[in-house]
Symmetry: C2
Subunit: 312 residues, 2 copies
């Protein structure tokens, strides 16, 4: 057994150090507000990590516990409060479509999670900038971004190949097709050249780069295949099933597979390491680093410190 | 038994005539594109009504049957096509949160259904105009708007009371809390002064005007009550349960109640008329009239024919 376990803390270290140094050198005090409106233990844990990481790196983090019914009004207040540079919400709140509504209530200039409609839309359409002048890069949904950073760290992205095609030749399964992680992640990986099987309880879809000129976007097809057929083909298997009972059978994994779990529950069986070459048991700490990275970017946009304005 | 049945065709007649006359007098040819990406019989029927009503009133309607996977690209093409003045989609497409994503993919200047995030957000926050200069009135989600127009037609809105408070003193139940009809409808009725019980499978919420100054919006509370407790208090009961088996027990209805069903299935029992003073069995034809009304408004915005520009 020669599987290497890669911890999120290791992947996030260089990002955290860079953020810490940047904040110190520039002597700035970016403020992030997190809204907690549920009693979900996973959300609570995520909030604790955010607080701890922010304290270490010099971000002023404030956790605001609010009732579900007050949340939208509190978000609106924070949108208008100039002392707040970033806003995040610990989901689920209502759990259904109303949560998607709430995601778009966060001002795009403060949306560190990258979950408002404009940012998610831009990911699907490979739109890289917020403005026509191309001075402000888009914010990318932070968990999909964290997973891409992990894939870069562990060498799944091939840096010899030109940017935008560095996953060419890779077959990847993403078991989760949520609007906030699985679907944008599948699109991002396909846009970078991978063949992606997107799996949820309703079936399997194949995401590929596609040939559509109009949208410069990935292509999606429903396919008639089972998990048993697709998983053995995959170089990378990424799981995010939000239930304690789900376990992907290790017998389906091809030897040398890269296994990444972003669920707060362990979706791989204990013997995953007898098949995998690399196993990443969780991604949360990288996600928090991406939140901070997005916060600094938005801080500059709010203070008109983009490259363009610096040149003027 | 003295219940009066009011048909949607009767309520919609004056709107249709006005739209027809307006189109004829101005000699314009507004074009509405409807996207059908499902095999749902209710959606097909709705598409047929749209086509028929548009033909009668002079709107150039084109039904485009597309695959689910191509829908987003086709919407984007229509957004950019200057010959298209309005876009609508027959939902459900994917059925879950992805449908909410699609709703916000329609350009707000062509969104005749009023379902993009900005319009739904503005309904909740009582924002009446799209622009700061207040020259362009917001588009209101069309089924909730149709139900308000029905309530005005049948005299539930009291025109003796000042505008904005015309439902004061009324108690209304809305059985459906979807993001596209039930929740915005409950908010609109509360903003007009009613006490609204919003009912879904997860429980009952009470929407009232509230006292929040910040958002100038309604207030929402979870309440511990059963359907058996709230329905007998209601002057108006509005149902929208999308299943053939759901029937609201007539024994709960108070005598003289106004009963309105917007589901494509009959949610009231056959003997509803032995309790109700007014019964509206369906609303679809008013919804189509509101689509056309929204289309004409957006046509003017696209062609810069707002009041402000007319005055210049």
């Amino acid at each position: 057994m020669s599987c290497k376990t890669v911890l999120a803390s290791k992947v996030s270290a260089s990002f955290r150090n860079q953020i810490k140094q940047d904040i110190k050198e520039r002597d700035i005090h970016p403020k992030l507000v997190g809204f907690l409106a549920n009693e979900d233990p996973a959300a609570m844990k995520y909030a604790e990590w955010t607080a701890k990481t922010c304290a270490e790196t010099g971000v002023d983090f404030e956790l605001r516990k609010v009732s579900k019914m007050d949340l939208e009004e509190k978000i609106t207040e924070a949108n208008e409060d100039k002392s707040v540079n970033g806003i995040m919400v610990y989901y689920p709140v209502f759990g259904g479509k109303q949560d998607l509504y709430l995601q778009s209530c966060v001002s795009e200039l403060k949306d560190v999670e990258g979950l408002c409609h404009k940012f998610v839309h831009n990911v699907y359409h490979n739109v890289r900038f917020m403005d026509k002048e191309e001075t402000m890069k888009c914010i990318i949904p932070c968990t999909p971004l964290a997973i891409v950073k992990i894939l870069e760290f562990i060498g799944v992205y091939n840096t010899v190949i030109p940017y935008g095609n560095r996953l060419y030749g890779r077959t990847i399964a993403v078991i989760n097709r949520s609007e906030i992680v699985g679907r944008p992640l599948a699109a991002m990986l396909a846009n970078d050249g991978a063949k992606v099987y997107s799996v949820d309880v309703n079936g399997i879809q194949l995401f590929t780069r596609g040939t559509g000129i109009h949208l410069k976007a990935h292509k999606v097809e429903d396919i008639e295949a089972t998990l048993e057929e697709v998983i053995p083909q995959c170089d990378v298997v990424i799981t995010g099933v939000p239930t304690p009972n789900y376990k992907l059978s290790s017998s389906l994994l091809k030897d040398g597979v890269v296994a990444i779990n972003f669920s707060s529950f362990a979706n791989f069986e204990e013997d995953v390491k007898s098949h995998a070459s690399i196993f990443v048991p969780s991604v949360g700490k990288v996600t928090v680093a991406m939140l901070e990275r997005n916060l600094l970017r938005l801080y500059d946009y709010q203070n008109d410190l983009t490259e363009k304005s610096k040149q003027q």
